[in-house]
């Protein structure tokens, strides 16, 4: 091929959802078909482009788009192994979520607005993934906030407005801290791109104090989206959003963006060894562990299904941060791979929760008696996701847990095992009762708000198949973790590059 894709592809990937998104705003509310076509066109096109990119990155090609937004301020989109991991995750899950959302919102209003922002949201996520420097990262990070806000507020109820407000308050404040940190860092280093192994290790010792302060600022900014305790308050509140949005928040975009940012800062800005030298990893590890346990304890006390899942996210996403906070390639692999694994497992759970709500009107754990009999496929998918979260092999979650534990022990941090053990038990404590109710309790005589679709399956196809597919992905990611194209292998590729192995 004579056309050099290198400088074009990253930009094209961002635009492949952004442009359809903008067009969708202009689509009349009634033009269901046109909107669906645009949606799917964008999603599939992005998938194809990402496929091309994965192939290229695997072969060691460089994809980089640069744009001067002002002299000295460069927007850099760069595809390295880590960004490819996140890009592929969000692209695949976006396609699935889009299909789901089309079904979910079949009878709803304001669909053009919804799908417009939906596409923008994913564009921003992909932008975050491909960001080649901190400035670019900050820009897309803020765009993500803006694009998600309308989605959270979408339902328009007072609770939705309130949830969206809280979401915004948290994320914008966080974004601002991130911005200040990024600016401050830039005054010390000048413009620097993300680089495997970090760029700061050469800084003189006199600057170390400043670097620690900057790290705290960056971490606070990223921690809001990554829902690190005590910055997690928005996440349970934004549960009022429609199910596909929750899926997007928890699995594909927002929370992941925060966690991904932490990975970027630790590995590609500070460099993990340098961060350890400054004592930053200890801060991160303490925060992550606290979050893991706190989120799980709170999840135990929730009756609302989505709220329980939300607190579970709080807990689970910090596995990623935990992985970043442990020195050594094994833990790094654990953290990185959990980025993908948590994504597919959590999206499964949320899509299932959406199915229960849409089909049976079930919103609470206490209403879930016997749903397994009425909705076997959905509940099967849910079970896979839930068991994976607990870390039951051979589902994907176990793989992450194994690498985190092994990495912790290898790094001499045996307490990681305690955290993982406690988290496993707590996860079991709040997921297994759900499974028990779903499979073992008798069905109620009738569900309050049962919605019957014209189908022979338990619910509408567009709602049913996405979670089933993601559940299968959870199984495949675990079962074929050692196979050449698995997320685990890719995470190992990243770790090798980060540690220069």
């Amino acid at each position: 091929m004579s056309l050099d894709l290198g400088p074009l592809l990253p930009g094209a990937i961002v635009l492949s959802s952004m442009l359809p998104g903008v067009l969708i705003f202009l689509v009349d509310e009634e033009s269901h078909l046109l909107r669906t076509l645009l949606n799917l066109f964008g999603a599939v096109l992005k998938l194809v482009l990402v496929g091309v990119m994965i192939w290229g990155v695997w072969r060691g090609e460089v994809f980089e788009s640069r744009l001067d937004i002002a002299p000295g301020l460069e927007l850099v989109l760069h595809a390295d192994a880590l960004s490819v991991l996140f890009v592929s995750l969000s692209t695949v899950l976006w396609l699935i979520t889009t299909v789901y959302a089309i079904g979910y919102l079949e009878y709803s209003v304001n669909r053009s607005r919804f799908f417009g922002f939906f596409s923008l949201c994913v564009s921003a996520t992909v932008g975050i993934a491909l960001a080649g420097n901190l400035l670019t990262f900050v820009i897309f990070y803020e765009i993500l906030t803006l694009a998600t806000y309308p989605l959270v507020a979408h339902r328009g109820t007072p609770e939705a407005t309130r949830g969206a407000k809280i979401y915004l308050a948290y994320t914008l404040s966080g974004g601002l801290l991130l911005l200040v940190g990024a600016v401050w860092l830039r005054t010390l280093t000048g413009p620097v791109d993300f680089l495997a192994g970090g760029v700061l290790s050469g800084m003189p010792a006199s600057m170390h104090g400043e670097l620690v302060a900057i790290f705290v600022l960056l971490l606070a900014g990223l921690g809001v989206k990554a829902a690190l305790v005590p910055l997690h308050g928005w996440l349970p509140q934004s549960m009022v959003a429609p199910a596909p949005v929750s899926a997007l928040l928890h699995a594909v975009a927002v929370v992941k963006a925060g966690a991904f940012g932490i990975l970027r800062v630790v590995f590609d800005v500070y460099g993990v060894e340098f961060a350890a030298e400054l004592g930053l990893l200890a801060i991160l590890a303490a925060l992550a562990s606290l979050t893991i346990l706190y989120g799980s304890v709170l999840a135990l006390t929730q009756d609302g299904l989505k709220k329980r899942l939300a607190f579970s996210t709080v807990s689970q996403v910090s596995y990623i941060a935990l992985g970043a906070s442990l020195l050594g390639p094994i833990a790094t692999v654990g953290g990185m791979v959990h980025l993908v694994h948590q994504g597919i497992m959590k999206i499964t759970l949320f899509l299932c929760a959406g199915n229960y709500a849409e089909t049976l009107g079930v919103h609470k754990v206490s209403q879930m008696d016997g749903v397994g009999r009425r909705m076997p496929l959905t509940t099967l998918a849910f079970s896979v996701g839930a068991l994976g979260m607990i870390g039951i092999p051979p589902i994907a979650g176990f793989v992450s847990k194994w690498y985190l534990g092994l990495g912790g022990v290898t790094a001499g941090q045996h307490w990681v095992l305690l955290v993982l053990a406690a988290s496993t038990l707590l996860n079991a404590g709040y997921f297994l009762p759900i499974l028990y109710r779903a499979w073992f309790r008798p069905l109620p005589a009738a569900w309050e708000n049962e919605h019957r679709f014209q189908t022979r399956f338990e619910t509408m196809g567009a709602l049913l198949w996405p979670p089933v597919i993601t559940a299968v992905l959870c199984l495949l990611a675990g079962l074929f973790a050692a196979a050449p194209v698995s997320p685990l292998q890719w995470a190992q590729l990243i770790a090798r590059r980060e540690y220069g192995l």
Binding site: P376, F398, A421, A428, T455
Partner: protein, 620 residues
């Protein structure tokens, strides 16, 4: 080619679990399907293929067809799968598959109860089977752990199958303990992998284990093995579970712990006297507690459960002694496997017999008499009477016992054998007094039971030296004697012994633990409530403050500013300040004029400058 059987043998039941679940994904949900599935229908199952009985068939084939030492490496599967069949695994695979087959046949044709949930039971049964078989043939620790977890969690569904309150309580205890055990095993395996650098553990490659690792592995698997005091779940779960589930729980699943220890500990490689002695003592303690507590139980299945606990104690004793003296390993390991096999088969027979005694044949019929007779045989085999599998298996372990440093050990073991005999006598007593309720259709379960009977009966002749056949008569005779005396006493003066029965409730130590847990929960709730109240008060204060500052406006604050006098004064003031600041911060380029810079502008200077600028102007 036969290596692939190692994969097929556990994938097969996994695949079967789908049809066995009888879930129909496509049906007309729109017309009130809810109502039709909601009511469980009692009675025999509608005939379908006996999926559960088909499950273990490839495993049976594999036992016979796969040569020892076969390995199948699939590095792409899971985290690197390696399947293989060594001698221990083969023994395990053999008795496990047989017992699952018998239990499966019993399930497929004999299991009654909430048949609306039969699909669920069967699917979970097959999943537990998958796990059990997988962990036996897995040589990588991931496969072992995955199978272990799969088996444990699926069994939870078997335990609580009938949904009664006691089953749910038992299930809860089971699940909590199983999960704690699993977490400990996980941690132990992580440490093992880290310390040895291998994920294919075998005694030779795990010589560098730290104490923590060994402790975690012992405790984690100890839960499954019923090591005192981690045995609490066993006496609760067995009576709660349906008969075939109890059979496999007691017959195969708890034995898995021993297999794990044989794989993950440096058995025969390294002398670990401390750990060995501790384990042996734990085994002895297990026996010492389980036997007396078992004897005072009312429920036949609880008695059997305690018997299993005691037997596991015995095997722990042996393993412990083997750890002390690595030289004993060849004898010890083979003996343990064989003992586990014979106990599994006999215990399975006993459990299935409980079910048959209850339902197959009218009271007083020939069938019932035969059933009781076979039960007596199984009980003797379990106790280790001469010419039974028990005696032979025990004989094989004699070198290990004899080599122990503890001289009193022989007496203790003999006492335990007598105790087991008593326990079995107590079991038979309960069985005899059980009133059967006849139901039809027990042919296949009886056939399955017969299979077990044949296997147990042939066991001594297949695996034992003739010298071993007639051993162990002493302690058994003693036990039988005491049992006869007690029985006589019980028959003539029932009131004398009545207070002992039910003296200790099933799950013994749990009764002590429960009040502690309650107290903990109570205090925790109180504390959390208080904290919660304080927190919500703080939140309310914060919200009120926020509302005050950012809420709806009160009046127009700026009206005052719009008064010309105020605004003007501010303006003039700011201008003056600006002037002062400008003058004060004059750059010191020309120091000679710096002095008067701060002074008010002198007009004369101004005009002078002005004139200088325009030379044509004359002053005069």
């Amino acid at each position: 080619m036969s290596a692939w059987l190692l994969l097929v043998l556990w994938v097969w039941p996994l695949v079967l679990s789908l049809p066995a679940s009888r879930v129909r994904f496509r049906q007309d949900w729109a017309v009130g399907a809810t109502a039709s599935v909601a009511k469980p229908v009692l009675g025999p199952r509608r005939s379908a293929l006996p999926w559960v009985a088909l499950g273990p068939l490839p495993a049976l084939v594999a036992v016979l067809a796969v040569p020892l030492g076969t390995e199948l490496a699939m590095p792409w599967l899971f985290l690197g799968t390696q399947l293989g069949l060594d001698a221990t695994a083969r023994v395990y695979l053999g008795f496990t598959a047989l017992l699952w087959l018998a239990a499966g046949l019993y399930t497929a044709y004999g299991e009654r109860g909430a048949s609306g949930h039969a699909g669920r039971f069967d699917a979970l049964f097959l999943l537990a089977m998958t796990g059990n078989l997988w962990l036996i043939v897995a040589q990588d620790l991931f496969g072992f752990y995955a199978g272990f977890a799969m088996m444990s969690i699926a069994s939870y569904g078997l335990v609580i199958h009938d949904g009664s309150t006691s089953a749910l309580r038992a299930g809860k205890v089971y699940l909590v303990m199983a999960l704690v055990g699993e977490v400990a095993v996980f941690a132990g395996l992580v440490l093992l992998a880290s310390e040895t650098g291998t994920t294919l553990p075998e005694p030779a490659s795990v010589r560098d284990l730290s104490g923590l690792t060994i402790a975690l592995l012992l405790l984690g698997l100890g839960v499954k093995a019923g090591m005192i005091p981690l045995h609490l779940w066993l006496p609760l779960a067995h009576p709660a579970a349906p008969v075939p589930a109890s059979a496999v729980l007691s017959g195969t699943m708890i034995k898995v712990a021993l297999l794990g220890w044989l794989r993950f500990l440096p058995v025969g490689e390294l002398a670990l006297p401390d750990w060995g002695h501790n384990l042996a003592l734990a085994g002895l303690a297990t026996m010492a507690l389980a036997l007396p507590v078992g004897i005072v139980q009312r429920d036949a299945k609880v008695i059997l459960a305690y018997s299993s606990v005691a037997k596991m104690g015995f095997l722990m004793l042996i393993l412990g002694l083997t750890l002390v003296q690595p030289a004993l390993a060849p004898v010890g390991v083979a003996g343990i496997a064989l003992y586990a096999a014979q106990h599994g088969l006999a215990k399975g027979g006993l459990f299935l017999g409980v079910g048959l005694r209850k339902h197959a044949g009218a009271p007083g019929s020939l069938a019932q008499a035969l059933i009781l007779g076979v039960l007596v045989f199984f009980a003797l085999a379990l106790a280790g009477a001469p010419f039974t599998s028990g005696a032979v298996a025990k004989y094989n372990l004699k070198p290990v016992l004899d080599a122990a440093e503890w001289t009193w050990l022989g007496g203790a073991v003999a006492a335990s054998a007598a105790g087991t005999t008593l326990l079995m006598a107590r079991f038979l007593w309960v069985m005899v007094r059980t009133e059967p309720h006849e139901e039809s259709g027990w042919t296949w379960p009886l056939a399955a039971w017969g299979l077990l009977l044949v296997l147990v009966a042939l066991f001594p002749f297949a695996f034992g030296k003739p010298a071993s056949w007639a051993t162990n008569a002493g302690p058994i005779g003693l036990g039988v004697g005491i049992a006869a005396a007690v029985a006589l006493l019980a028959a003539t003066r029932p009131k004398l012994l009545a207070p002992f029965i039910g003296l200790v409730s099933p799950g013994d130590l749990l009764a002590l633990l429960a009040p502690l847990l309650d107290a903990f929960r109570q205090s925790g709730t109180t504390l959390l409530d208080d904290l919660g109240q304080a927190w919500s008060r703080l939140q309310a204060l914060g919200a009120a403050g926020f509302e005050r500052v950012f809420g709806t406006p009160v009046g127009d604050v700026e009206r005052g500013l719009r008064q010309w006098s105020l605004a003007g004064a501010l303006w003039v003031g700011i201008s003056a300040l600006l002037l002062i600041l400008l003058l004060a911060s004059r750059p010191l380029v020309a120091p000679d004029t710096g002095a008067d810079a701060a002074a008010p502008v002198p007009t004369s200077t101004l005009l002078r400058k002005f004139r200088d600028r325009i030379p044509s102007l004359s002053l005069s």
